[in-house]
């Protein structure tokens, strides 16, 4: 099987989203070649939980988020949301299902219609779905705008470009909330924002999550932000999941060599801490012809012959902590080369 294992899936009645063996491939023209963007990953999210997805640029985070929304629908695999299999829904039923799962994107300004006023932008989903009377709709919009800290009066008079980046991100959050969704997929929602504004948006998401009983999937490459907001984190590498763990555990006790590299690259805001030497060089290999065995092996300091031929599967090394590696840093047998020093 192509998958990297399912040991980490939970048998819990509170599972809201369950993704199994997700594969997304993009054919390259008529060459017969394809981009293996996502190669058989599985994960689940419980009601009220925040799952963080991290990994280098191009590892398939956005593709995963979009595949959940069936934008486009995956090459293969199963996506069950609240008991419904999304991959087999008709177009109309999927449109309906999308009101329960919303997505917000990295670039706040360009994801909003530049020609409409902000209040109308937030109102639009309600008019499309014809929810309630006009008066009820406007009342709901204004309440949500207040909630995210945007003055409804100003929203009625202004276009998106008259707001700052952080404010535009608040506006897209408001828009994603009006239909009362169960889950929001946030794709790099704060990457384009100043650190000071980032903190405001993260706090806002945390508040809204409690208030509206939301479940979040939070995609980002800034690990400090992901750690802060997530309950559980999945680390992706070149279309695969290499580690799954509770957020605090992952940082305290990384088990996959790639997770350790990611962690050691985070700049520490303290000049007295020496900058750590980065242990991998180069770029991730091409997803067109991914390496055999463990996909991280060409860059891994611990790689053995086994890593070059046999693909590791996710297994539990301590309660709730899963890793797909033949020689994990904790909870497994270290390779000889590592043990000797």
């Amino acid at each position: 099987m192509a998958g990297t294992g399912k040991a980490h899936l939970r048998d819990d009645k509170n599972v809201l989203l369950r993704v199994e063996d997700l594969v997304v491939e993009f054919p390259i023209g008529r060459t017969g070649l394809k981009v293996n963007a996502v190669s058989g990953i599985s994960f689940d999210v419980l009601k009220g939980e925040t799952l963080g997805i991290v990994g280098e640029s191009g590892c398939g985070k956005s593709t995963t988020g979009r595949a959940i929304m069936q934008l486009p629908s995956p090459t293969s695999g199963s996506i069950k949301f609240d008991g419904t299999e999304l991959t087999s829904l008709s177009g109309e039923a999927m449109r309906e299902a999308r009101t329960k799962i919303q997505m917000i994107f990295q670039d706040p300004i360009s994801s909003l219609n530049p020609r409409r006023n902000v209040r109308d932008i937030v109102l639009e989903p309600l008019t499309i779905w014809n929810r309630g009377t006009k008066a009820e709709q406007l009342a709901a919009v204004d309440k949500i705008l207040e909630h995210v800290g945007i003055d409804p009066q100003r929203a009625a008079e202004s276009k998106p470009h008259q707001f700052s980046g952080g404010q535009c991100q608040r506006i897209s959050i408001a828009r994603s909330l009006v239909l009362n969704p169960q889950m929001i997929i946030c794709d790099e929602p704060v990457s384009a924002l100043d650190v000071s504004v980032q903190a405001q948006v993260v706090n806002l998401l945390e508040d809204l999550k409690k208030e509206f009983e939301l479940t979040l999937v939070f995609i980002a490459h800034d690990l400090a932000v992901v750690k802060n907001i997530s309950d559980r984190i999945a680390v992706m590498y070149l279309g695969k999941i290499c580690e799954v763990s509770s957020s605090d555990d992952l940082y305290r006790n990384p088990a996959h060599p790639y997770t350790e590299v990611l962690l050691s690259s985070i700049p520490v805001p303290d000049p007295t801490v020496a900058v750590k030497k980065i242990s991998v060089d180069g770029e991730p290999p091409s997803p067109v012809s991914p390496p055999a065995g463990c996909r991280f092996n060409p860059r891994c300091p611990n790689a053995s012959d086994r890593c070059r031929s046999e693909e590791p599967t996710l297994r539990e090394i301590e309660p709730g902590h899963f890793v797909a590696c033949h020689h994990p840093l904790t909870g497994g047998e270290a390779p000889v080369s590592v043990r000797s020093n």
């Binding site: 280098e56 191009g58 405001q200 907001i229 309950d231 985070i266 700049p267 000049p271 020496a274 060089d281």
Partner: protein, 357 residues
């Protein structure tokens, strides 16, 4: 004029600005993008310029390089390079400085590389133009430069177009181009903001290595204080077109004076905090530089504000050492600051960990 050149010593700044102002005429009025900035960079030193979006970081770098729009700009103050005034030079006179003496890596690598020109040609062009090399010489040097910035298979890359490279590699190509003529001074404007952490770390590492090996000076622009902590000798914090605090990097972190710097630092999420820790934020937004506030520009957002701050603009103050300056009436640690801090903590408006560094 050349006399200053002769008496130049190691300790004299390579680049110096004295009260530089760069204002733009806009429909709404005069935008005071850079409003009286004095900085110095010595040879082989790196200066971090940090501040929120719109604080004037890019305009400051461009003012030093002489890369400003032709029309609608009001410039004042002095820009010196190796002791000589360059602030009033024409584009033609600056040609001998651009590339060879000072070079710049721009904020967005995709829009600053030429999309229809092969990477090799983009690098070799400037070598031919500025150093008069032949095409084959220039291509050989270009390959060496790509190798220096750790691009795998440099020979093959010479024949690729920018869109065939990843974001990290494009940023390396930008660095290679900037390094081509061996500049003394490199401006790097948010060179890593668009990149993910592993590549970010590699690029910063690469820049400091090049700085060391070539005894080059570096001005590193960023909005994230955390990013520059390990890679700069000095930091200037900008707010609303002014430098509001400047100090050697270690001093700035250990002995922060300006409440704004403290607020910027505490808004960075830290790995040593447990997940779901409440992040500190700075309320409100940066000042309107067309109509800046009358007193301290940070006053409307400052937790330590008092009447004086709203009415008078704080002058540049010296902290414990001459190389540490700031603009604030009630700096971190002052009696008024401490008094307000106690109040805020009691009211629960201050997270316990905030500003504890």
């Amino acid at each position: 004029m050349n006399q200053s050149d002769m008496v130049r010593s190691e300790h004299e700044p390579l680049v110096e600005t004295i009260d530089v102002k760069t204002h733009f005429k806009t429909a709404r009025g005069i935008a005071r993008a850079v409003d009286g900035v004095s900085i110095q960079i010595r040879r082989g030193q790196s200066l971090g310029v940090v501040g929120e979006s719109g604080s004037g970081k890019t305009v400051l770098s461009r003012s030093i390089m002489g890369l400003l729009p032709r029309n609608g700009v009001i410039r004042e103050g002095s820009v010196r390079y190796q002791g000589q005034e360059i602030g009033n030079r024409s584009d033609k006179e600056m040609q001998s400085i651009w590339g060879r003496e000072m070079a710049m890596i721009f904020q967005d690598p995709m829009t600053s590389l030429n999309p229809v020109m092969k990477v090799g040609k983009q690098i070799s062009e400037s070598l031919r133009k500025n150093l008069g090399m032949s095409s084959s010489e220039a291509l050989a040097v270009a390959e060496k430069l790509l190798h220096d910035v750790r691009i795998p298979e440099p020979a093959r890359r010479l024949n690729q177009y920018p869109h065939e490279l990843s974001g990290g590699m494009r940023q390396r190509v930008m660095i290679a181009i900037a390094m081509a003529c061996g500049p003394n001074m490199l401006f790097a404007d948010e060179p890593t903001t668009a990149l993910d952490v592993t590549v970010q770390a590699q690029i910063l590492e690469l820049l400091s290595e090049q700085k060391r090996d070539r005894n080059m000076s570096l001005l590193l622009v960023t909005h994230n204080l955390g990013v520059v902590a390990g890679y700069t000798d000095e930091i200037a914090v900008m707010y609303g077109g002014k430098v509001v605090e400047k100090a050697p990097t270690k001093t700035l972190f250990a002995n922060t004076k300006m409440p704004y710097t403290e607020a910027l630092l505490s808004s960075i999420p830290r790995l040593d905090q447990p997940s779901h820790s409440r992040l500190s934020t700075i309320p409100g937004r940066p000042p309107d530089i067309v109509h800046p506030p009358k007193g301290c520009r940070f006053a409307p957002r400052c937790a330590y504000v008092r009447d004086l701050c709203l009415n008078e603009e704080p002058e540049l103050q010296q902290a414990d050492s001459p190389d540490h300056t700031y603009r604030c009436f009630y700096p971190v640690g002052s009696p008024e600051y401490l008094e307000r801090r106690v109040e805020l903590t009691r009211k629960g408006e201050l997270v316990a960990s905030e500003g504890s560094n």
